[in-house]
């Protein structure tokens, strides 16, 4: 199936922004991506189908090279698939211009990265405010206040004017999460969000994710740590560009409970 064949039936829904495809935030069909490295062809994604409903919390696992990062980039509108169709929150993504993709990232998506990716020498509040300043719909009448609210939500109401180098890793990741949340996105994408954090801080971050998910935000996180994936509701494993497992998490852990039993805070090495 190609993108062309499905476009006509879905296009009337593009402008509405509603959820015509049965409440699916992500509705991806046969996503395919092939990279060419010289003469070699790397099949990063081979016809991946993925449907995600609002309110889900999904962990994507897989070895490096399994295609999970590529999938993440496709779903995050950072890269475009070679073929396949992708409806994000009812909007058909393939065929959009780079500017339209930028606007979708700004309005519908929030990103959290392994390396935090905050702007250096820029205060927490300015970092969080940034996505609001790139918004072209002018729906934020008071970006500053909205940013402060987001930082309070992640527990950093007292660190507004700190620059990243003055914050611990966990705090930096919280700033990054606040930045992802500040636009009230439909979908939060987290790429190895705990990869650079010690285990206790990781659990703290997962507690924050679970709290946000309970409030209704759909979260998709990529990780290679099995412990972390148990905090999600649904679990997907990838290998060689294909989804090989897709199941609910049976023994879901609640991070806020684990925090009581995990290493003593004094010994965990939190900054």
């Amino acid at each position: 199936m190609t993108a062309m064949s499905t476009r006509s039936e879905a296009s009337p829904t593009r402008a509405s922004g509603g959820l015509p495809s049965g409440d699916f935030i992500i509705d991806a069909t046969a996503l395919t991506k092939t990279y060419r490295m010289g003469t070699n062809e790397v099949h990063a994604l081979r016809a991946v189908d993925l449907k995600v409903r609002a309110g889900e919390m999904i962990a994507v696992m897989g070895a490096s090279g399994s295609g999970k990062s590529t999938l993440m980039n496709m779903l995050g509108c950072l890269d475009t698939p070679d073929s396949g169709s992708y409806l994000l929150d009812g909007v058909r993504v393939e065929g959009l211009s780079t500017n339209e993709l930028a606007d979708i990232r700004n309005q519908k998506l929030g990103f959290v990265f392994q390396g935090f990716n905050l702007l250096a020498r820029t205060t927490a509040i300015d970092n969080v405010e940034l996505p609001l300043l790139y918004d072209r719909t002018h729906r934020w009448s008071n970006p500053r206040a909205t940013a402060i609210e987001a930082l309070k939500k992640v527990g950093l109401g007292d660190r507004l004017d700190h620059v990243p180098s003055e914050l611990s890793g966990g705090q930096q990741q919280r700033v990054a999460i606040a930045r992802a949340l500040v636009t009230s996105p439909r979908l939060l994408l987290a790429d190895e969000p705990t990869g650079n954090l010690d285990s206790r801080t990781s659990v703290e971050i997962m507690a924050l994710f679970q709290e946000l998910n309970d409030e209704g935000i759909t979260i998709l996180l990529v990780t290679h740590e099995g412990d972390i994936s148990r905090y999600a509701k649904r679990f997907i494993e990838m290998r060689d560009g294909r989804i090989i497992r897709d199941e609910d998490v049976d023994d879901r852990h609640i991070a806020s409970v684990d925090l009581l039993t995990v290493d003593d805070p004094e010994l965990a090495g939190t900054p």
């Binding site: 950072l78 890269d79 780079t98 500017n99 930028a102 990232r105 990716n117 905050l118 702007l119 790139y134």
Partner: protein
């Protein structure tokens, strides 16, 4: 620090342009000031070239300027000129005071002082009455006064011109040299009536000087004078046998050269501005590479290519404008320094300053554009993964 060094290129470039233009403008206005010592709003009629059987005899060969032209006809009929004076010129020996002195004797009318805008250092100028009565009175140029009456007051002293005794009634203020280096103060003025009767006897004269009330009147006055002169000389269809030039023409000829020189200097200085601009481009390219990850972050959270581009363009414009402003300070200070070290007159012109600011802004846009576009065209994924 690195930004400061980059800015330095623009600072030096803008400073150099301003200093060079200041030196050029200074040279130009000192020449203009010298031209202005000739008089204000002045028109000069000289005897024109005559043509004998198709062979030009050169200017002044057939001199038909007459006292009557200047003193009577122009004064009576020309409405736009406020002062007119013939100049009867002859060189002779003065005897008086400390000894003798050879100089130029100019027979002029009372209007001459007005036309040349030439104040007196002491004494009085001759009057209409002196002129009518052919009185033997002289007004000395300061060089002559210094030569014959050094250290004393020459007013009332007697001296001899071609064995005719004259009384000194005034001394002119010093005017200095002309643009071509002639000492304007090495002169003696007598009433033209006296000069004609006692010294020369000729009724043909070298020049007629006139002046108008304002510079705006000069072109019309020139035409009017021309018409009167043609009528007076009964020329009919023949070519003019005189030439009327105004002071602006003299000034333009003299300042034209310095103008060319000013722009030449500015052009050379602009090269350093160009080099400064290339420095900015270089630093911006480095900056784009260093901040690739930041660009990726911005794109991930929704910055369009144009947002990124504007960001980098603004940055390079800010750098070059800041450099430009600093350069203006350096330029103004530098031209004052050059002025005081070399004694040249320098003049910072507002146009040069404006031009320098505009130019540095343009440098920012021009040399910032390529790096900014490079930043804007980065792929978000590659930018994010960049180490």
């Amino acid at each position: 620090m690195r930004t400061l060094l980059t800015m330095l290129g623009i600072v030096i470039g803008v400073g150099a342009v301003i200093i060079m233009v200041a030196i050029g403008q200074g040279a130009r206005s000192s020449i203009e000031a010298q031209i202005n010592t000739l008089g204000t709003n002045m028109l000069v009629i000289t005897a024109g070239a005559s043509t004998a059987g198709g062979v030009s005899q050169g200017a002044g060969t057939f001199n038909r300027l007459q006292i009557e032209d200047a003193a009577e006809k122009l004064q009576r009929e020309a409405t736009l000129i406020t002062a007119v004076s013939p100049v009867i010129s002859t060189r002779t020996q003065l005897i008086g005071g400390a000894g003798n002195w050879r100089t130029e004797i100019n027979g002029v009318s009372t209007d001459y002082q007005v036309i040349r805008d030439w104040p007196l250092a002491s004494g009085t100028f001759f009057t209409q009455d002196d002129q009518r009565a052919l009185r033997k009175v002289v007004v000395l140029g300061s060089t002559v006064a210094e030569a014959l009456y050094a250290g004393m007051d020459p007013i009332g002293e007697r001296l001899q011109l071609r064995s005719v005794p004259f009384t000194v009634i005034g001394v002119l203020a010093a005017k200095g040299q002309t643009a071509t280096g002639t000492d304007q103060d090495d002169v003696v003025l007598v009433p033209y009536t006296t000069a004609r009767a006692r010294l020369s006897g000729r009724s043909f004269i070298a020049q007629i000087l006139a002046s108008t009330a304002s510079p705006a009147d000069i072109p019309a006055a020139q035409e009017e004078m021309s018409a009167i002169m043609r009528e007076s000389h009964k020329l009919g269809d023949a070519d003019d046998d005189f030439t009327i030039r105004n002071q602006n023409e003299l000034a333009e000829a003299a300042t034209g050269t310095t103008e060319v020189m000013t722009w030449l200097l500015a052009a050379i200085a602009s090269v350093s501005l160009l080099v400064g601009g290339i420095g900015i481009m270089n630093i911006m390219l480095v900056s784009v590479t260093e901040r690739t990850r930041e660009i990726g972050i911005r794109m991930a959270i929704g910055a369009r290519g144009s947002d990124v581009m504007v960001q980098f363009l603004v940055e390079s414009i800010v750098i070059s404008l800041a450099g430009g402003l600093l350069g203006i300070l350096v330029g103004i200070a530098g031209s004052a320094l050059v002025g005081s070290l070399t004694g040249w007159s320098t003049e910072t012109s507002p146009q040069a300053v404006l031009m320098a600011v505009g130019f540095s802004g343009a440098v920012g846009v021009f040399f910032g554009f390529y790096p900014a576009r490079k930043a804007a065209s980065l792929h978000p994924i590659q930018a994010l993964r960049y180490e």
